[in-house]
């Protein structure tokens, strides 16, 4: 019989036993990376759904908006329930508009500027809602491999120390430790790769959505500006 086998019974090589035999640091790294992966995928799923909903809602709103219905009517319809995307922009701007007219003797002088401010704030809020948690993906994507590598280095370090201690360089003794260590890097990559891809994709989606919101805000503020001028002319007349 091979003396190496006598010295160190060959370790089981299933994934689970690999995890159990790893040193505690490597175990922590593995668990952390696994959790990061779960979180990443949570974000990915949620964001994907969110973006899809947002896009659908914006399509729907634009259709309604340009259908020729009166803004007042549209406003009363939308303000009854919480809105998202363009609808929230529209509601915020209309609310500001209405407040200016409800107050008697209100001047139109600053109205245009106020509406624009409100629109900007709304866009920022919407984008912030879309963008939230995307940085987690970025962090996992960039840090995941390093964390995994740390686990690997640590694991290999440990296994080399045990080689030195056992004075046995048989591959059967060395292999399990190295496999465990490499498993950490594998998990790190497993978490990081989808995170990186999803982050880039969603970053693009957010930018697209933001551009769409801004263009709507510009159009809407142009419409409101025209209305303001008409009201001002009426009053003057």
């Amino acid at each position: 019989m091979n003396p190496a086998e006598l010295a160190a019974p060959v370790a089981e090589v299933s994934i689970w036993s690999m995890f159990l035999h790893a040193s505690i640091v490597v175990q922590a790294v593995m668990i952390g990376l696994l959790a990061a992966s779960v979180w990443c995928w949570t974000i990915i799923v949620d964001k994907t759904l969110l973006f899809r909903r947002t896009r659908k809602a914006m399509d729907q709103f634009e259709e309604t908006f340009w259908s020729g219905r009166s803004l007042e009517e549209l406003y009363t319809t939308l303000s009854e329930r919480p809105t998202s995307g363009m609808a929230s922009l529209f509601v915020a701007a209309m609310r500001e508009w209405k407040r200016s007219f409800q107050a008697a003797g209100a001047s139109f002088v600053g109205l245009q500027a106020r509406i624009e401010k409100v629109l900007d704030v709304s866009i920022a809020r919407e984008v912030e809602k879309l963008e939230s948690n995307l940085l987690v993906l970025a962090t996992v994507a960039s840090a995941g491999p390093f964390v995994g590598l740390f686990g690997t280095v640590w694991g290999i370090m440990t296994s080399f120390r045990s080689i030195a201690a056992s004075k046995n360089t048989s591959l059967a003794v060395v292999a399990p430790g190295i496999a465990e260590a490499l498993f950490a890097t594998a998990i790190g990559l497993f978490a990081a790769i989808p995170a990186l891809i999803a982050y880039n994709k969603m970053q693009g989606d957010v930018a697209k959505t933001q551009a769409r919101l801004e263009s709507f805000a510009d159009e809407f503020s142009a419409i409101l500006s025209r209305q303001i001028d008409q009201h001002a002319g009426d009053r003057a007349a």
Binding site: S14, I15, W16, W41, T42, V45, K47, L49, L50, R53
Partner: protein, 379 residues
């Protein structure tokens, strides 16, 4: 994070991960095992013979020059004429060329009883010294040879070996005579025999001196070569020669090898040398025994005594005896003496041993053998 219908991400994600993990656990639970790949161990097959021949040398040993020590070479072997080497000059007794020639002729004579094999050496030497005084290099062997022909019985020892060696060069002899002994020329036939005697006598003295210093010895010889030597001639006794010759031995006790100097300290590239494997040695032993058994005519036993005749043999490469066999343990008991005699007879009778050519490369190892004849095993 609250779980809402709008944000089912956490649930979905957790469920997906759990599923994936479970799938992974199942899928990778038993990783594919590699076939047991035994490490290949390079194995080199060598025969037992090759193993027994291993004689690795030191890698960093000084390189030995391929110099041949002439020493004793000559009696047994036919080596190519080696050019006189620096060392050769120091050792008075070594004239390489004559010695080699002696061997071939010697074979025929070897069987005759010759008390001393070394006799061959001394005769060549005196001629060597003579050559120097003579402006024209005559060949030295002639004097002994001349002696051999006229009086073969007087000196059996020098005769066998030298008689033939010189044979090819009879014409040169006349040259020597005129110079050395102009006065004796008048009687050509009788004198040649005498001349050698003078020289041999001198040899005796020379031998004594040579050890002290060789250089002085040579000049001393020159004056004596003439008439002075003749006077001593009368006192000459053949036995004296053998005595003197015996003294000569210690001068050249070097190993007698077919190849003279072996670079023993240097490993060869292959790490093996010409050494007989034990199994070859056994084969040779049994081969020889078998032949001797055929020549064995003694039907007694050793009579319970522990006496077994031990005979030392020297062979030539062709398997014939290079010298008279020597009984190492003579006995006074007549019964055992007959046993010894039977052994000697067997050895002589089988004289040209048939040694297969496969053993010839190892001549070095079997040229000298001491054989013990046990009558119980010989039949």
């Amino acid at each position: 994070m609250t779980v809402s219908r709008k944000e089912p991400g956490l649930v979905v994600s957790a469920a997906a991960h759990t599923t994936l993990l479970a799938a992974t656990l199942i899928a990778f639970n038993s990783p594919a095992k590699y076939d047991d790949a035994k490490e290949a161990i390079p194995v080199e097959m060598i025969t037992d013979q090759a193993f027994s021949q291993i004689s690795k040398g030191e890698k960093h040993a000084k390189e030995a020059k391929p110099v041949q020590k002439a020493d004793r070479l000559a009696d047994v072997q036919e080596l190519k004429p080696t050019p006189p080497i620096a060392e050769a000059k120091k050792d008075v007794p070594l004239p390489p060329p004559p010695l080699k020639r002696q061997r071939d002729p010697g074979e025929d004579d070897a069987q005759k009883p010759e008390p001393q094999k070394t006799a061959a050496l001394p005769p060549p030497r005196p001629p060597l010294e003579e050559t120097k005084p003579a402006p024209e290099p005559p060949k030295r062997p002639e004097p002994p040879k001349a002696q051999a022909k006229p009086e073969p019985k007087h000196e059996p020892k020098p005769e066998p070996e030298e008689a033939e060696t010189v044979a090819p060069k009879p014409p040169q002899r006349p040259k020597i005579e005129p110079k050395h002994e102009a006065k004796h020329e008048t009687k050509p036939p009788p004198k040649p025999p005498e001349k050698p005697r003078l020289k041999t006598d001198e040899v005796a003295r020379l031998l004594a001196r040579t050890k002290n210093d060789d250089k002085h010895a040579k000049p001393a010889v020159k004056p004596k070569s003439g008439e002075e030597s003749e006077e001593k001639r009368s006192k000459f006794d053949t036995n004296a020669i053998s005595r003197l010759l015996d003294h000569d031995k210690p001068q050249a006790t070097g190993s007698r090898g077919r190849e003279v100097v072996r670079t023993a300290s240097l490993g060869t590239a292959t790490g093996t040398s010409h050494r007989m494997a034990p199994n070859m040695m056994d084969a040779l032993n049994s081969l020889m025994m078998e032949q001797w058994m055929r020549c064995w005519h003694y039907f007694g036993t050793s009579g319970g005594s522990k006496y077994y005749p031990m005979i030392t043999l020297r062979f030539r490469p062709d398997g014939s005896l290079a010298a008279e066999p020597v009984l190492r343990n003579p006995t006074s008991d007549p019964a055992l003496a007959s046993l010894a005699a039977a052994a000697m007879n067997a050895v002589r009778e089988c004289n040209p041993m048939k040694i297969p050519s496969q053993f010839s490369p190892y001549f070095d190892q079997w040229k000298n053998r001491t054989v013990e004849f046990r009558p119980d095993e010989m039949r």
